[in-house]
Amino acid sequence: MSEKRIGVFICESAGGSEGSLDLRSLGKHVSSLPEVSFVRFIDQVCKETGQAQMLQALNEDEVDRFVVAACSPLSKERMLMRLAAEAGLNPFMFTIANVREQSAFVHSKAGADLKAKRLLRMAVEKCRLLAPAPYDVRTPDSRTVLVIGDGLRAALAAEEVSALGLEVMILVEEGMLRLPRFLDDALAEPLKRSEEGSPIISGQLASLDGVPGAFDVLIEGKTSGALRCGAVIIAFDPLPAKLEEGIKSPMHFEEFMASGAPLPLSLVIVVDDWKSDFHSPQAMEWAMRTAVAIRTRSPESSVRILCRDISSRGELESEQLRAQRHGTIFVRTERMPTITPGVRATVRTIDPVVGELALDADAVVLVGSDMNAGSASTCFVLGLAMRPDGMPRESKVRLRAGESLRAGIYVIDPWGEWSSADVRSDCAAVAARVAALLLSPGIEEGGAVAQVEAGKCSACLSCVRICPYGAPYVTEERKAEVRYELCQGCGMCVTSCPSKAIDMHCYSDAQIAAEGKAALKEPRP
């Protein structure tokens, strides 16, 4: 076994501009620890000159790992990874003792000095137990993006992705995209082009294997076969509300409007936003645009829109004003109206001011969604946790919007956008994230990742169940293995393994124990 040689660097700025740490004494405290090869003082670790000094020391002394006493790893880690790599070391063979933010800045001098010694000692003991971590920068194999969906979102996602220079394929169950007709030309033309441009594959997802940048997908259904892609975007539109006889759906009504038949003299559009706080404002957008279209073509027709709230935030505000100027009447109601269909239908509801209302109509259209995005089977195939609406759970929205919990699989939310223009923004945002992944010179993987010792594995599935990211799986040899390409390094699998078959790099059990022991050792002042 090769000898361990630990190099220790102490940043002269570690005491902050106040210079409140006795750095020389700090250096002396660790210089006699076993396997410590040197202690060097560096003017400023974050400056180029400082790094050049460190690089020289690393190369001269042939150390295989190093410790830096400076400020926070949260700001210095990436930089030191590059330095380690430049010195020919595994980029994870170093530790950092944060003696600035977590000692010099927060304690009085005497206390800060003693604590700095403990912190540096902990970092040395942790460093002693480091092993080269699996790490690579993998060029994506495929720059093709598979979009799954069949409506507006799928079309816009495909378009935005192509605009960034990536190949796109759209997987549609029925082989045809259903685009809303109310879209004005500015939006419709490019979508038609993208429809013609992006190959549309008719079918369903049967399975997906592999890693981001290199997914192997199997399709079944109308077409069946295998394809390779670099990323997947789940872009379902909400399913239309369930209808009773005599009540038209928006698509139905659009076909009717295009057929040349005489337009109804009295139209009631019921926007179903009573079910929950989760409603699709696009239902309102459709209602308003359709109202304007009807009133323009047939000024003698009356159009009433029934809803709980007039959701017209953002771009839709001008749509609302336009609809109102064209004489559309908005009727606010507290609950879902009862609709009695017929040649002349009756819509009964309660207006909060006027009271009970009974409206007669030649045509009733129900716009809304049944709170389902029809994506449940896709989630199941991809092994993604599902929300009650059938969409995959999105990763931390603040930090990783548009990402599912599985690396390389992205999600466009079917709710929440206020107009189709906003849908485009959402799609553009997700497309940008996909492009960042696939157009990068390489996808970084590894580092502080978990690893299974197959001999100890009881195949109990604890790790498979606990991982939020789907990284552990059971091999054909019936032992668990962690795909480090998907591992996000949280360590929950390590803790949950009943047979202690899993450990992780950079935060191993032995390292945490060693840090604990060193933390409790009283330094000689």
């Binding site: 949260l74 927060v106 931390k396 360590g491 929950m492 803790t495 935060y507 604990g516 022991k517």
Partner: protein, 133 residues
């Protein structure tokens, strides 16, 4: 007093850094061990620390509902509860160990946690174990 805080990179550690940048002062008796996620903490680490002379231990993770790794803070809570009941069974006070939740931009909360553990430490006294060096 010897107090170890096991802090997650995303919340606890970052909040401690922020407390540093804000020069919020707390006792040097408190020293931190960085974890990738609060969910990494294991009962065995905590028991070992007591045996090696820790007076108090705490774990600081992300705010509930906001764990960067989705439910690591829930896992940590369960481990702390398990450790507490072992301590109680052994005749030690379960309050020597605690779980806290905070966000990375709450430097003030980190100081609050540090001060609370010091206050509790003076109330409970040092670890009943006499640890030989």
């Amino acid at each position: 007093m010897k107090i170890i805080g096991y802090v997650c990179s995303h919340a606890g550690y970052a909040a401690a850094d922020l407390a540093g940048e804000e020069r919020l002062q707390y006792s040097p008796d408190i020293i931190l061990i960085r974890l990738p996620c609060a969910g990494r903490i294991d009962v065995v680490h905590l028991l070992k620390a007591f045996r090696e002379g820790a007076d108090m231990l705490f774990v600081a993770g992300c705010l509930e509902g906001n764990c960067h790794h989705h439910y690591g803070n829930h896992e940590a809570r369960k481990r702390i509860d398990q450790a507490k009941s072992i301590l109680e069974a052994l005749g030690m006070d379960g309050r020597r160990i605690e779980m806290f939740y905070l966000a990375s931009n709450q430097g003030w909360k980190f100081k609050e946690i540090a001060d609370e553990m010091m206050r509790r430490a003076s109330e409970l006294g040092p670890n009943p174990l006499e640890v030989k060096e």
